[in-house]
């Protein structure tokens, strides 16, 4: 019991202590969260009429961010797979960051889904036992299962490893490696399930494509590692935690290959829709060229594709990719491009025009922007806290003060003042 208390105290200590920049960062995130919570309170009171959504475009910014973030969560597998399963030592230090990212992304996903619900207080209807989860018929029920399962895995595995380190033990591979294997398959499944959620709707030809799943994976495995590279760079420059350059190089390689595959698939979709345009391609026509003067997304998607091509090109040129400045620029651009493409660029055109050919465009309101920013802040807040707590333990700085002396010696100092 003492150990648990010490662990929690050490965690609290790590999360609440930091330099001025750290406090400014967390204060800023908290402020955005408060604004988001205020906006959400208005939405709760007035209903979803305060959003830009309509019966025609019935999903908007929230679900767009949800689909993108599921990919971010899945991308953690790109670190887990080589580190745990293939025993690649380069990744082992980065892997906790990846899992922290997965947890943060999943929490954001769940927040976005709840924010999108018309009756959030009735979400207990989803709980098996007291509710009525329509499993396995509904793909959304599948998504509830796989997202929560993946969250449990990504909380459980790092917690076990950190706890073992905290207790001055080596984690027992027999206890956690089976779960690591499971999480690898699970990561692929969360993204496939989310893709199938959209692809399984014959009513929406824009989504009803067998390329949806693979394209989700490719774009996730480009954007995810890109984001992890950015985070690793932040950690590297701000802490003493040592991350091998080889790990970043390998991640950059993964992002490059995935970005190329993603571009090939975009090209393939564009060809199919426009070589011989049919009625089913009308949504793509709206997206890329506009329809009857309605062209809200044309600039958006073209920017996204241009950014995507630029980033991929930079990553493909070896000297540029090896140069940290170029690499960071490319990762940032790639991340933004895929967020634009996999978010609004994917969800909205599915609704415009409607299945009965009516064109109603979507424009998010300030409430949606505020809630979205708030949820992103929640995610970044969680991610920052997780990394802050995990790193000192991983570096051996924090150990349970109740351990026998010979185990304590392993770390340089005991992180807290007990």
């Amino acid at each position: 019991m003492n150990h648990v208390k010490a662990f929690l105290l050490a965690a609290l200590d790590a999360a609440t202590n930091g330099g001025r920049r750290y406090h400014l960062w967390m204060g800023f995130l908290s402020l955005v969260m408060v604004v988001g919570a205020y906006a959400y309170s208005i939405q709760l009171r007035e209903g979803l009429q305060v959003t830009g959504m309509t019966d025609h475009v019935s999903w908007g910014l929230y679900i767009s961010n949800f689909t993108f973030l599921v990919g971010m969560a899945a991308a953690a597998v790109m670190l887990v797979l080589p580190a745990y399963v293939l025993g690649d030592v380069d990744f082992s230090k980065a892997v906790l960051i990846g899992e922290g990212l997965a947890v943060a992304a999943l929490i954001m996903c769940l927040c976005f889904v709840v924010a999108d619900l018309g009756g959030p207080f009735r979400s207990w209807h989803l709980a098996p036992g007291i509710g009525f989860l329509n499993f396995p018929r509904s793909l959304l029920a599948w998504d509830v299962v796989v997202l929560n399962g993946y969250l449990a895995l990504n909380l459980g595995i790092p917690l076990y490893i950190l706890w073992s380190h905290f207790m001055g033990r080596k984690p027992n591979p027999k206890r956690y490696v089976p779960f690591v294997y499971l999480s690898v398959f699970w990561a692929v499944s969360i993204h496939m399930v989310t893709a199938f959620l959209l692809a399984g709707l014959p009513a929406r030809p824009f989504w009803n494509s067998s390329l949806m799943g693979p394209r989700f994976l490719a774009s996730a495995f480009a954007a995810g590692p890109a984001f992890i590279i950015l985070m690793l760079t932040v950690v590297k420059t701000n802490t003493t935690y040592h991350i091998e350059n080889v790990a970043i190089d390998k991640l950059a390689m993964i992002a490059t290959v995935a970005a190329q595959a993603n571009l090939v698939m975009i090209g393939s979709e564009v060809f199919k829709e426009f070589y011989f345009p049919t009625h089913h391609g009308i949504n793509a026509q709206y997206l890329f060229f506009g329809l009857d003067g309605h062209d809200a997304l044309v600039g958006w998607i073209r920017t996204s594709i241009a950014l995507n091509c630029c980033a991929t090109l930079i990553l493909m040129i070896h000297p540029l990719r090896k140069n940290p400045k170029w690499l960071i620029t490319a990762c940032l651009v790639l991340f933004v491009a895929i967020w634009m493409d996999k978010g609004l660029g994917l969800v909205i055109p599915g609704f415009v025009p409607s299945p009965l050919g009516e064109i109603v465009e979507y424009r998010p309101t300030w409430i949606e922007f505020a809630v979205t920013a708030g949820i992103w802040s929640v995610g970044l807040f969680v991610f920052t806290v997780l990394v802050r707590v995990a790193l000192p333990i991983e570096m051996g700085e924090t150990r349970s003060p109740y351990l026998p002396r010979h185990l304590l010696d392993h770390g340089a100092t005991v992180g807290t003042d007990h």
Binding site: L48, G119, R122, S138, L140, I282, L356
Partner: protein, 384 residues
């Protein structure tokens, strides 16, 4: 009154409210409602009295104005208790003590007895299950609660049912494209019948005006604002087609929408969590969402309601056409068909070989929308 009532929960002043208490109160209030029903029956069918014309033709004892006035559970108490009412009074007393405690918990102290009763009923409504898994008693209970709430909140007397499908009936609809002139009387009739939100103007039916020759929704418009019929144009109405293979039903994560044995696809509005996946899944854009709290002026509410049909909805749930389940299960025609001045709409039982709808399907050149999707709508179009 020989019924054994559960013992009242202990004075909940200091104690935290437990789930057990809630269940006990629920059980008690159910009994109160049942006793009230009995009482109502004893007093000349007071519960269903407003539907009676008062001339004695329906067999009820007419001329009992006091019984006609629905009284609050609490008000009944205040009168000098006698006979059965005595037992009832004790019960309601405990019940109100319970609600008081609940009020204290939520820090909203209801003032009047009606407020307390309303609060309790609303609380019970929040905990109820999916209509599909309710027992007959549960269904009866929730319907009574809703009727009582309508009385308390808006002072109106509802006549709600949860009537199930009749055997040997599967409903179908046919739409005569040659006859429709685009007057949209059906839309108006539908809104009135189905208690649609008047403020945002939710409409289940859309009439598309199309230029001669081909059925092309992209070139047609449902937003026309001019005198009809327009020359060289024809009109085609859509609504929920109650598909034989409804994609909307498959996708619902909480099974809040399903197909009834008579083919009607229904929604349990109170079970729907408002994720709107079904809206995305419908190839015919038939489903609507309550983006805001729906508003229907009290004097315009249609009191003849069905739990799965035209009862008043709340914000955050999905709704759609149910072929007027509250009418058609009683053997009447849907409101849109009754409202149509040109006779373009034909509704009937597909299993009845002598029905008009069967004759049309067998003898006319009929077509359905998006046949390639395999949804098999039970809504056919034909021309004369």
């Amino acid at each position: 009154m020989s019924t054994e009532f559960p013992s009242p929960p202990p004075e909940p002043t200091e104690r935290e409210l437990t789930f057990e208490d809630i269940l006990r109160w629920q059980a008690m209030s159910r009994m109160v409602e049942r006793s009230l029903d009995e009482q109502g029956r004893a007093e000349g069918e007071a519960v269903s009295a407003p539907a009676c014309s008062g001339d004695g033709s329906c067999g009820c004892a007419s001329g009992t104005p006091d019984a006609l006035q629905p009284q609050s559970l609490g008000a009944a108490l205040l009168e000098k208790p006698m006979g059965r009412r005595h037992a009832l009074g004790t019960l309601v007393g405990t019940l109100l003590a319970g609600t008081q405690a609940m009020g204290a918990c939520t820090s909203v102290l209801p003032t009047g007895e009606k407020d307390r009763e309303r609060l309790l009923l609303e609380f019970q409504e929040r905990l109820k299950a999916n209509f599909r898994v309710m027992t007959d008693q549960d269904k009866e209970d929730t319907i009574r609660r809703m009727e009582r709430l309508a009385q308390l909140k808006r002072g109106i007397h509802l006549n709600m049912t949860g009537e199930s499908a009749q055997e040997g009936v599967i409903f179908g609809y046919a739409f005569n494209v040659s006859k429709c002139k685009g007057y949209r009387e059906c839309v108006a009739g539908c809104i009135k019948e189905n208690n649609q939100d008047r403020r945002t103007g939710i409409q289940f039916i859309r009439i598309f005006e199309m230029e001669g020759g081909e059925v092309d929704f992209e070139d047609g418009t449902a937003e026309y604002q001019h005198e009809v019929p327009r020359e060289d144009h024809f009109y085609l109405g859509t609504q929920c087609f109650q598909c034989t293979n409804p994609p909307c039903v498959e996708v619902c994560p909480v099974a809040a929408t399903w197909q009834e044995p008579d083919g009607i696809v229904v929604i349990d509005y109170d079970w729907c969590i408002g994720c709107r996946y079904c809206i995305a899944a419908c190839p015919y854009w038939a489903r609507r969402f309550n983006w805001a709290e729906p508003e229907v002026p009290t004097d315009q509410i249609n009191p003849d309601q069905h739990y799965l049909g035209n009862r008043l909805r709340r914000k955050g749930c999905v709704e759609k056409c149910t072929f007027c389940i509250q009418r058609t299960r009683k053997g009447r025609h849907p409101a849109c068909m009754e409202a149509c001045p040109t006779g373009a709409r034909v509704f009937g039982n597909l299993l009845d070989p002598d029905s008009e709808i069967r004759w049309i399907i067998e003898n006319k050149k009929v077509f359905r929308l998006k046949e390639d999707l395999g949804t098999e709508p039970r809504f056919w179009y034909f021309v004369d």
